[in-house]
Amino acid sequence: MTTYAAEYLELLPERTPGRVSSAVRRELGRLVSEGGLISEPAQLRTYECDGLTGYRVTPALVVLPATTEEVAAVVRVCGREGIPFVARGAGTGLSGGSLPVADGIVIGLARMRQVLNVDVANQRAVVQPGVTNAGISAAVAQHDLYFAPDPSSQIVCTIGGNVAENSGGAHCLKYGFTTNHVYALTFVCPDGSVVTLGGDALDTVGPDLRAVVLGSEGTLGIVTEITVRLLRKPESVRTLVADFPDAEHAGNAVSDIIAAGIIPAAVEMLDTLAIEACEKAVQAGYTIGSAAALVVELDGVLAEVEAEFERVQEICRHNASIHIRIANDPIERAKVWKGRKAAFAAMGRISPDYFVQDGVIPRTKLGATLKRIDEMSRQAGLRVANVFHAGDGNLHPLVLYDSAVAGEADRAEHLATAIVELCVEQGGSITGEHGVGSDKACSMLKMFSAEDLTVMARVRAAFDPEGICNPGKVLPTPRLCGERPGPYRPHPLEAAGIIERL
């Protein structure tokens, strides 16, 4: 069986992109308000990658429109000229979703950062895409409201990026993802027309196009306004950190909590390496040397939370928890979360380099999968730290390596890819929240059949028939992946010296 259907290849043709000529540059300069055009080579390099720093491409031009109309005007020119464009928020994405296209344009939305409207009674806010995730909650905190999705990068990442990636976070086991918290999108189509998808009301008539755009990683168009759902802050929040003699006991505790009919707001697991790194970085009070720690948070109605919090402690003790630390006030709780959310960056404290991986397994396969990752880690001779959202089986193995050691980066990347493919074998997914982007487009072939991908390509073509909107992301192509995907081979662009990895 060939990897790609013939129709798929027709739907995603290789096109010679239009050229960003000096005339185009001048025209775009007139379309965006002052300061909205970046063409100095040194400045352009600021935009050459996102949070996946291993892939770098310098764009031909960066524009920073200030309004929906400006975005639409820029996109219209791109459409007319056949110039590929990539939308960009804060550039914190970890899958290379906003990696520029060579000779293309980056449309940065950082200047669109206004909270346009807060409807307290209806618990909705209309925001521009450059507002940060935490900024939304800050803007409505005075009304006891907040925006539930909370990716670890929430202080800097933008809602536009959250919409593109359908971001989750530690609390999505109970509260869902960005797609569950967005009512309406103002959407600039790849031909420059502007439409509203969804509405202020809960339901629209007809297929849910808003849901298609959510999580489409910027490949269908550009979102310039978002109506988000706000939630009332819970009456009570209780958080604990429980240490366990090994990951298996910690995993069993999670299973028992779920089996008891409790849906925690969050359940996070850190292994001993992750604990060590976090403590070195932020001194959040985790027990160094503990084999595994669970962070369990419950929220909701006070009486309910209190009773269930007792029950969770019993379950932890029953599963041989050695030590339970209870965060008794918001400051203590913030400290626990600071440690957890700093986990990725903290790896720098225990390793010169590391890959952040993102995969999902059915939660019940946790024990078996961790064992397998451990074996793979030994075989590769590389350390793997594990931080994950244990409630929903979203693993974030961190593959540690030293790029100064010849060949180690390649082995690390190979191991990271093997881990995510292990997740697919276990019935899971190649990504729970970081997205496919450039990084995992080829792994899509492990998860989806040629037919599945063909239907996705049809959807893409329905929105972007010319293929100018963030091309090369999400959907694999033979040019990116080769006809038959397999173990890691150098990226063709790498071989050509166009991009380089860490």
């Binding site: 027309s193 339901d203 297929p207 196009l209 489409s216 109605v301 009773a307 999902v360 019940t364």
Partner: protein, 418 residues
């Protein structure tokens, strides 16, 4: 290919004749996904996908077509209680699924009024139907995690997955929500589950639509977590009166505490409440569900608006009905901003009342939507079922062209929009 169960007279199926205007139809009942794909591939006739047939009239009435039923696609494919997920064939009736899940203390957190009529998971996803407890658990849109589709050309495609958290590829699962059978045949669905709450209690009282809305807004602003707030008009003037029901679920301690706190709020904003539990509570909600489903002689339409627009929706309905000479009654979920209107009276008057109500709801300019659900053929002939398309219809048409280029899936269902 084995021969799918085939039914050409439709007599064995209660409402087959009500599916389309005009000619008799052929019903195919594939027993596997592959069979469904084979039969869809083998014909170039128009297709109408059907589960239990409880909502065939939603949207525009489709033209005559080969009916592909999910009657024989009712298997439970996998239930992993510890993972809180279940995979089913699309023809699985919701009530059957709930029965299986209840053995593990779980449920699909969805309680649409059509459950008792045998509504299937596939049909519920295609119609986006939901029930009162959407307030707490979200709609089916929020509960689906994966889907298997058969496209109009017979291609079988999967999207999403078996795990709750997954962002790989386009969300074609949610794309099917509300698609009314116009994009593809839904063959299998994977769902996330919830634990069944230990305890439940419901407060009822009589109040106006304004009071009900004020109460709903106050509940949303409070730390209370009601799982449902329903109001049903009981008087021709919605300001004069209706029945309100507010439900709380959870642990015994949590429900008791919420009941105490809600008591104050209720009496301050709406009046003294009566509390119901157990069978009495179940009956009460079954009766409220029946209000939402009136049978084929009644013209019914749903609307979605901002929650605070609820009293306006009610007065606009009363005015539209009075002006047209029809009778109308409203059932609302004021905390969600979801409304169902039932119209009765002379066909002309009903048609005028519906269209004028729709126009006023849509004109409010807050991204509202209105969907015509049930109506007799005489009323159907007098209305534009879909009404004016939104600006995004351009994308809808483009999607339809790519996924169903020959327009085979439910032709006419989205009326002028497609």
């Amino acid at each position: 290919m084995t021969i799918a169960d085939r039914d050409t007279d439709g007599d064995t199926h209660g409402d087959t004749h009500g599916d389309t205007h005009g000619d008799p139809i052929t019903a195919e009942r594939p027993t596997t996904v592959a069979e469904a794909a084979d039969l869809i591939r083998a014909t170039d006739e128009p297709l109408l996908f059907r589960g239990a047939g409880t909502k065939q009239s939603w949207g525009g009435w489709p033209a005559p077509a080969t009916v592909v039923e999910t009657t024989n696609l009712t298997r439970l494919l996998a239930h992993n209680p510890a993972d809180m997920t279940v995979a089913v064939e699309a023809g699985m009736p919701l009530r059957d699924l709930q029965e299986v899940l209840s053995k593990e203390g779980q449920w699909l957190a969805l309680d649409p009024p059509s459950e008792a009529a045998g509504a299937t998971i596939g049909g519920l996803l295609a119609t986006g139907d939901s029930g009162p407890r959407r307030l707490r658990y979200g709609g089916l849109r929020d509960l689906v995690i994966g889907v298997t589709l058969v496209m109009a050309d017979g291609m079988v495609a999967r999207a999403g997955g078996k795990v709750i958290k997954n962002v790989a590829g386009y969300d074609l699962t949610k794309m099917m929500y509300g698609s009314l059978g116009t994009l593809a045949f839904i063959a299998e669905v994977v769902l996330r589950l919830h634990p069944r709450p230990d305890t439940s209690t419901t407060a009822t009282l009589d109040c106006s639509v304004q009071q009900a809305t004020d109460l709903a807004v106050a509940l949303l602003a409070s730390p209370l977590e009601p799982s449902a707030v329903d109001w049903v008009q009981s008087h021709s003037d919605p300001e004069a009166g209706g029945h309100l029901a507010v439900r709380f679920e959870g642990t015994a301690a949590g429900v008791a505490a919420q009941r105490d706190a809600a008591q104050d709020l209720l009496s301050r904003l709406a009046g003294a409440a009566q509390w119901h539990a157990d069978d009495e509570e179940t009956t009460l909600w079954a009766e409220l569900a029946a209000e939402q489903r009136r049978g084929p002689d009644v013209t019914a339409a749903s609307a979605a608006t901002l929650p605070t627009r609820t009293p306006d929706v009610a007065s606009e309905l009363a005015e539209a009905a009075a002006t047209a000479g029809a009778t109308a009654q409203l059932a609302c979920r004021p905390a969600l901003g979801l409304h169902t209107a039932a119209f009765t009276g002379p066909d002309d008057a009903v048609a005028r009342a519906f269209e004028s109500w729709r126009a006023s709801v849509l004109d409010a300019g807050t991204g509202a939507s209105v969907l015509l659900r049930d109506r007799p053929a005489e009323v159907d002939a007098r209305v534009d079922a879909m009404g004016p398309p939104p600006a995004s219809v351009v994308l809808l048409r483009s999607l339809k062209r790519r996924l169903d280029p020959d327009g085979r899936c439910a032709p006419g269902r989205l009326g002028s929009w497609c």
